[in-house]
C-alpha cells in the first residue's frame, strides 16, 4: 500500500485532477502534492491523493517497475500488482 502509483494528469478542476493510469482515467486530489502541477505532469498517487510531482527526467525510470508488475498482472495472487490495482481504485471515479 505504500507503493503508490504514477499517473499522467489529463486535466485539472480546482483541487481534483483527472489522471490517466495505463488507460484508466481516475480522479486524484491535489491538496497535498508538493509542487504546482499542470496537465501533462506525472504524479505519484497514494490512496487517492497526489503526494509528489514526478520530475520530468525521472518519469521513465519511475514507470518501469509498474510496467513490469502490470505486464504480469494476470497472476491474480500477485501482491504487488494487487497493491498497484488497489492504488488505482483509491482514485475516485468520474462524477465524484
Amino acid at each position: 500500500m505504500c507503493l503508490g502509483v504514477p499517473g499522467k494528469i489529463i486535466e485539472i478542476d480546482g483541487v481534483i485532477a483527472t489522471v490517466d493510469f495505463w488507460g484508466v482515467r481516475k480522479q486524484v486530489r491535489l491538496e497535498v502534492v508538493d509542487e504546482p502541477v499542470q496537465p501533462g505532469d506525472y504524479i505519484l498517487n497514494h490512496v487517492g491523493y497526489a503526494i509528489r510531482r514526478i520530475p520530468p527526467g525521472e518519469i521513465q525510470a519511475t514507470l518501469a517497475l509498474y510496467e513490469e508488475l502490470l505486464a504480469h498482472a494476470e497472476r491474480e495472487d500477485d501482491l504487488m500488482a494487487a497493491d498497484v490495482r488497489g492504488e488505482i481504485q483509491g482514485a475516485g471515479n468520474d462524477g465524484r
Binding site: M1, C2, V32, I51, D78
Partner: protein, 391 residues
C-alpha cells in the same frame, strides 16, 4: 500448499548487467567487513514484497542478513485499537476502513467477524470515499484510519477539506521515525543499518533521519522499490557499515528530497499530534502514534462515543493466538519459518496473526512468494532465457 517459486522465471531485472555488477559489489563489500552476519533492517512492506517477488535474497551474499522490521502498517496496529473499531461496530456505528484492516484479529474478533454478525463495515480504498459515504446520510460514519505518515496525510487533507459533521475519525495512524529508535535499541535485533522506505520519506524528507543517525551511530539509506533500487541501496548501506560511517544517504532522489513534502507535513501536523503508544508486538513507542489535535475533537470518534472495549473481554480469546510470533517477526528477531503455525494452521484465508493478513505482512509475503526465499537458488539474470523487460 505453498505458492512456491511459480512465476519467478518470468520476473526479470530491467538491467541484468547492472544487477549482476551491484550484486558482485555487494558481495565484495560484505566480505570485506569480515563479520557474519551483517544485519540490515528495512521497515517497509513494499520493500519486502519486492525482495521476495524478485527473488532478491537469492542474489545476496550469504553473510548479509536483510530483515523486515515493523514496516507493515496493518500489522503493527495494536490489538486494543482493533478492539476499539470492533466495539464501535458492535455498538451499531457504521465503520469504513482500508481492506486489509477488516481481517485483522482483535482480542476476540476482527471487523469482518463483527460484520458477519450484522455490524456495518465498508471497505474503502481512500479516505475520500469514506467522506462520500458520510455525505449520503446523516448517521455517523467512523473512518478507522490506519497507516503510516504517507497515508495519514490523506486523512489530514480530508479533515482540512471540511467533511460533513457526521464524518468521524478513529485514528490508529503511526509515525515511522520513532519506531526505528526503539528497534535500534533492542539488544536481540543487532541491526547495523536501516534501509528507509522511499515513499514515507517522500513526505518526511531524508533529513528526518539525521537526529536518529547522530544518536544511534547507525547509517540510514533511503531506497526505492525497483529491484535495482533496492540492490543499490543495500550496496550503499554495506559500504557505510564497512567504513563505520554513520550517515544518511539518499539513493532515491527521483522521489525523495532532504526537506520532503512540506505542504503535506504542514497539513499532517495541523491535524495530528504524536503521542506514545503500543505497536503490536514491538513495545511502547514514544511519539509513534498519531492522534487528532484538540482542535478536531468534534471529529474524534474516541471523544464522540463511549467505546465499550471491555465488553469484548467477556468472550473467549481466539485459539492459537498465544502461539503466534508476529511480534518477534516485526521486531526482526524471528522469521516466519521459525513459527510452528506458518503455512499450517496460519494461512492467508485463515490467518492467526496480523502478519498473515496484510499484503504487506512478512508472513503473507513469504507464503505467497515461496516460503523462505533464501532457499531458492537462482541466477541474478533470472535464468538463461534472458528475456528482459524493456524500459
Amino acid at each position: 500448499m505453498m505458492a512456491g517459486n511459480r512465476g519467478f522465471d518470468e520476473l526479470k531485472f530491467r538491467d541484468p548487467v547492472r544487477a549482476r555488477a551491484l550484486s558482485d559489489t555487494l558481495g565484495r563489500l560484505t566480505t570485506a567487513i569480515g563479520r557474519s552476519p551483517v544485519s540490515i533492517m528495512h521497515v517497509c512492506g513494499s520493500h519486502e514484497q519486492a525482495i521476495a517477488r524478485f527473488g532478491l535474497r537469492a542474489t545476496l551474499p550469504r553473510d548479509l542478513n536483510v530483515i523486515m522490521g515493523p514496516g507493515c502498517p496493518v500489522c503493527i496496529t495494536d490489538v486494543p485499537e482493533v478492539d476499539e473499531g470492533v466495539a464501535l461496530a458492535r455498538q451499531g456505528v457504521r465503520i469504513a476502513t482500508y481492506g486489509d484492516m477488516v481481517k485483522v484479529p482483535g482480542t476476540v474478533m476482527s471487523l469482518a467477524d463483527a460484520q458477519a454478525e450484522g455490524a456495518r463495515v465498508d471497505v474503502v480504498y481512500s479516505v475520500s470515499q469514506a467522506v462520500e459515504i458520510a455525505r449520503q446520510s446523516d448517521e455517523p460514519l467512523v473512518f478507522f484510519a490506519t497507516g503510516f505518515e504517507t497515508t495519514a496525510v490523506a486523512t489530514a487533507a480530508a479533515i482540512l477539506g471540511g467533511p460533513p459533521d457526521n464524518f468521524l475519525v478513529l485514528s490508529a495512524h503511526k509515525y515511522i521515525p520513532p519506531v526505528m529508535e526503539i528497534v535500534a535499541e533492542m539488544p536481540a535485533t543487532r541491526v547495523e543499518g536501516f534501509l528507509a522506505a522511499g515513499h514515507a520519506a517522500t513526505i518526511t524528507g531524508w533529513g528526518v533521519f539525521e537526529p536518529f543517525v547522530a544518536r544511534h551511530k547507525l547509517p540510514v539509506v533511503v531506497a526505492g522499490f525497483e529491484p535495482l533500487d533496492i540492490l543499490a541501496g543495500l550496496v550503499k548501506l554495506v559500504e557505510l557499515i564497512g567504513e563505520r560511517r554513520a550517515a544518511v544517504e539518499n539513493m532515491y532522489p527521483r522521489c525523495v528530497t532532504k526537506e520532503g513534502n512540506r505542504r503535506a507535513q504542514e497539513q499532517l501536523w495541523k491535524v495530528f499530534r504524536p503521542i506514545g503508544g503500543r505497536w503490536r508486538g514491538i513495545a511502547h513507542v514514544p511519539n509513534g502514534n498519531l492522534r487528532l489535535r484538540d482542535e478536531w475533537a468534534h471529529l474524534d470518534a474516541r471523544r464522540r462515543f463511549d467505546i465499550d472495549v471491555a465488553g469484548l473481554w467477556d468472550y473467549a480469546p481466539r485459539p492459537l493466538v498465544h502461539e503466534c510470533i508476529c511480534g518477534d517477526i516485526m521486531a526482526g528477531i524471528k522469521s516466519p519459518t521459525d513459527c510452528a503455525l506458518f503455512g499450517k494452521e496460519c494461512v492467508p484465508h485463515s490467518p492467526v496473526g496480523a502478519c498473515m493478513v496484510s499484503s504487506e505482512g512478512t508472513c503473507k509475503i513469504w507464503h505467497q512468494y515461496g516460503g523462505h526465499p533464501d532457499l531458492a537458488p537462482r541466477s541474478v539474470t533470472g535464468g538463461e532465457s534472458g528475456a528482459v523487460c524493456a524500459r
